[in-house]
């Protein structure tokens, strides 16, 4: 059982911190804090994202209560920022409010695609690293940008599989493979996962982790989907470590040809 023990030591390591789970849960879109909490537990995640917004008087409790009860690390994001400046200020506000130097950096270009704005993203990443943040940037699936983000000191890179909330999987697995081949920091697929198989494919390709929000929080049964995606991430990781067989056009017999019986109907 030595190999099983080795698998159990297969932690996700970001900025020197170890996590047993390779699934990060985005909390946006959950129907309620109660369902969110059950989904967090079912997902097995140890990191959950939150956003910074204007305070309102509501008796709904705080998402931070869910974070606290589940024992997860909180990962604030800069969702809704269109410029490097706004993202940097938002990151500092989040650090102040939540007492964490970890930030999921998002700088988006427009509301329709929610695609990252690469120039401002890189600028903000550089400023925040300089300021002592552990920066996890939501990035395009662009190997050049991923490399630049790593060069300025990001603790991980988080390329998208497809636009946020599109649920359309990994649209460009070839780019993702190039990113994975060159990266020396964890590559975490962020955005695009629609269902369990998408998460499994990301992990099979060699991603260090997967960040999932809408696929879980907006599923008909979020808690069930959280469990499904947890298992998909685990299965995909094991398959990656196991080393898949090459894909071939033609068959490759699994049974040896040697010693095959001669069953010709010989006549004396």
């Amino acid at each position: 059982m030595r190999s099983r023990a080795a698998e159990r030591d297969d932690d996700l390591v970001i900025a020197g911190e170890h996590f047993r789970s390779r699934l990060i849960l985005g909390t946006g879109g959950a129907p309620s804090h109660d369902i969110l909490e059950d989904a967090v537990l079912a997902s097995g995640t140890e990191i959950v994202t939150v956003a910074m917004r204007r305070i309102t008087r509501s008796g709904a409790g705080s998402v931070l209560d869910v974070v606290e009860r589940t024992g997860c690390r909180v990962l604030p994001n800069t969702a809704g920022c269109y410029t490097a400046r706004d993202a940097v200020v938002t990151a500092r506000l989040a650090r102040e409010a939540l007492e964490t130097k970890w930030i999921k950096l998002e700088v988006i270009a427009d509301e329709r695609t929610l695609l990252p704005e690469p120039v401002d993203l890189l600028d903000a990443a550089e400023q925040l690293v300089e300021d002592g943040f552990v920066v996890l940037p939501y990035a395009n699936d662009d190997p050049v940008l991923a490399h630049r983000l790593e060069d300025v000191g990001c603790a991980a890179v988080m390329p998208l599989g497809a636009p946020i909330g599109s649920g359309s999987g990994i649209r460009n697995p070839y780019n993702l493979r190039i990113i994975l081949e060159r990266a020396r920091v964890p590559v975490i697929l962020d955005a695009g996962v629609g269902t369990a198989s998408d998460a499994a494919i990301a992990m099979e390709l060699g991603c260090a982790g997967v960040l999932v929000a809408s696929a879980i929080t907006r599923a008909e049964k979020p808690v069930l989907m959280a469990e499904a995606i947890r298992k998909a991430v685990e299965a995909g990781r094991l398959a990656h470590l196991a080393g898949r067989i090459p894909q071939r056009l033609y068959a490759e017999a699994s049974t040896a040809w040697e010693g095959i019986a001669d069953l010709t109907a010989h006549t004396g």
Binding site: T27, G28, V50, A51, M52, R53, R54, I55, S62, L98
Partner: protein
């Protein structure tokens, strides 16, 4: 004086501090999970008590919500 807090105008006494504003919003200066920006820049928690607001200041009082 009038200041704009989270997009809405609010009346405060002249020279009111960030702590007084928070108090007017039923928020304690010790409340966790809160951050304050003034005219686009962060006001650190340690500075809340000494930071006086000026007329027409734009203040944002933020907290963590579901997102991402």
């Amino acid at each position: 004086m009038t200041v704009v807090v989270n997009g809405e105008t609010r009346e405060l006494r002249d020279g009111a501090t960030v702590v007084e504003l928070l108090s007017a919003m039923d928020l304690s200066a010790e409340a966790r999970g809160i951050a304050v920006a003034r005219n686009g820049g962060i006001v650190l928690r340690a500075e809340w008590v000494n930071t006086t607001l000026a007329p027409d200041d734009h203040v944002e009082v933020l907290h963590a919500v579901q997102g991402g």
